[in-house]
Amino acid sequence: MASTIGQPAAAPSRAEPVVQRRLPGRNPWRRPWGMEGFTWLYIIWSIVPIAIAVLFSFNKGASQATWQGFSTKWYIGNQVTSVLHNPSLHHAVIQTLILAALTTVICVPIGVAFAIGIDRWRSRTSSGLNFVMIFSFVIPELLLAVALFLLVTQALTFIKLGTPAETAALVVWNLSWPAIIVRARLVSIGRSYEEAAADLGASRLGAIRRVLIPMLMPAIFASAVLVFASTVDDFVIVEQVSSTANTQPMSVLIYSNVHGGLSGPSLNALATIMLVVSLLAALIGFVGYRWMSRGERTKGGADALTGIAGI
């Protein structure tokens, strides 16, 4: 995704040509029904399995393949394995939310400041730092996770495995989201607004605070939503640097229980809760992004959708 971010949004594309041309033989602008069917097949294939998994979290029985009636026992009813009553399951929900909130609150301000800093500083050091930042975006997560595990167990042992190490690791892993997205936005805004503010007597810091930051808000907001959602989803890093069961978020718990352990629909219930958290973040992101960029909207919802997906 990174490579697309720096580019300005294209002019609204014309889906249908204005002039319907009549050529002998087949209409060259006919709708490609085959491709449309293929697209719908893909959409069904991508969504139906998830819908079934959500459905079976409400199954009355313990099966994940035979429907035995509706029930919420895997969420609240069952005294042993429901998400509400099973300590490891509800710890996992809480841990995921704590990590997502901490990471977003720490990571986004650092990333935004970093983006503004390297965009204006323009030196060999800043381009080197930019390079390192983009590198952290493309490195396979496992390699960084292993390196971070070794860092906190061999060198910086004051960062304890568990929540401190998880937060530190997630902050650096997600730093590239705000940095890349805000930087792209800075490039498309240009300098003229800030310079106008400076000409009208604003200090540099004042111009940043009162002109630049408000203009960056959609990008900052989109990156916050992305950081939150990607932390909720994160598995590799937190698996490496979590310690006891109490610091395992939902993703790790699902992973370690799929084959044996807590099985049955309570895992589906946990996954559904994760899904709802992410979708809520997406919805808030979509609405917020549209609201913040209300003055400059050209393509309706499509812009906000791609904005909060980081493209």
């Binding site: 720096g6 300005p8 949004a9 393949a65 400041a113 590198f135 493309v138 396979p140 070794l150 959602a229």
Partner: protein, 304 residues
């Protein structure tokens, strides 16, 4: 970019440096330093008694003991890492190719023919992006289990419906990889294809090119960077994947290089070898990663 680079900014250099500082510290301490620790562990030794790692911080004293042990594990007799490495490449290549083959027509259709329903299509294409990876794997595990819907559907059509899909089949692992990473490919392809100037395609048609030749000579040529970006965005994480195969099969016959790294790290006394293997993967991936980083930096400069 050089247009605004004036004396104006140099006065505020301290401010820009100050803004960059927290991020720079985070990157240096938590991204660069960890790989130095990894090198020190890889070049270090072990405490024979406790079987724990003893990192060696001075590069001059690094030993090649772990390296030769891993080298033997990869290329030597009875190697178990070599097979995993080859399998990783094969799985990644097949899964990336399938992802691109599915994603391209979908992204192409939505970007060119989405029309008034484009927003709806985008919502549906982006939806899986917001569903966690674990959830998506769990969904397929439910479907593929012994009495699951896939087997029921197969026996409904008179096919053998007792396949143990989750018992170590490469097909299942590749399905998991494709299903897990394809939303990213589609988004990347869509972002590029949506920016292709439609008038170029119209011009090609007006000049008499057939639909197929227009696609071949114009659209496909223009979408080359999209295909390259889509390949990177899926292949790089797939090469470091170790959980998809664990979830979808868990059998030794489908292990990938990531599992070998994990296994060595957790084995007492072999953490150093895990670090060596991780560094080897990093070195192999360095060239594609650098290519991607440099082309990203270049394209953002071109558009600035």
């Amino acid at each position: 970019m050089a247009v605004h680079q004036g004396t104006h900014d140099r006065r505020y250099r301290g401010l820009w440096m100050g803004l960059t500082l927290p991020g720079a510290i985070a990157l240096l301490v938590l991204f660069v330093a960890p790989f130095y620790v990894m090198l020190s562990v890889a070049g270090g030794g072990i405490n024979e008694f406790f079987q724990t790692v003893v990192p060696v911080w001075n590069p001059l004293h690094w030993s090649s003991w772990n390296l030769s042990a891993v080298w033997h594990d990869i290329f030597g007799h009875g190697s178990f890492i070599g097979g995993a490495a080859v399998r990783t490449l094969i799985y990644t290549a097949i899964a990336t190719a399938i992802s691109l083959a599915i994603a391209y027509p979908v992204a192409y259709f939505v970007s060119r023919y989405g029309g008034r329903r484009k927003t709806l299509f985008l919502v549906l294409l982006i939806a899986p992006f917001w569903v966690s990876y674990m959830m998506r794997m769990l969904a397929w595990i439910d479907l593929l289990q012994q009495g699951g819907f896939v087997n029921s559907a197969l026996s409904f059509f008179g096919l053998p419906g007792n396949t143990d899909w989750l018992g170590g089949k490469s097909v299942t692992v590749i399905l998991g990889l494709v299903y897990g990473y394809i939303p990213y490919v589609i988004l990347v392809l869509y972002a590029f294809l949506d920016r292709i100037d439609q008038s170029l395609i119209e011009a090609a048609r007006d000049l008499g090119l057939s639909r197929w030749r227009t696609f071949w000579h114009v659209t496909l040529r223009l979408s080359k960077p999209a295909i390259i970006a889509g390949t990177f965005i899926t292949a790089l994480p797939m090469l470091g994947d170790y959980f998809t195969n664990q979830l979808m099969s868990g059998a030794p016959g489908t292990t990938m290089i990531g599992n070998a790294i994990e296994g060595l790290l957790e084995a007492p006394g072999e953490t150093g070898q895990g670090a060596v293997l991780a560094l080897m993967v990093l070195v192999v991936l360095l060239i594609p990663m650098l290519y991607y980083v440099i082309s990203t930096a270049r394209s953002s400069r071109d558009y600035a």
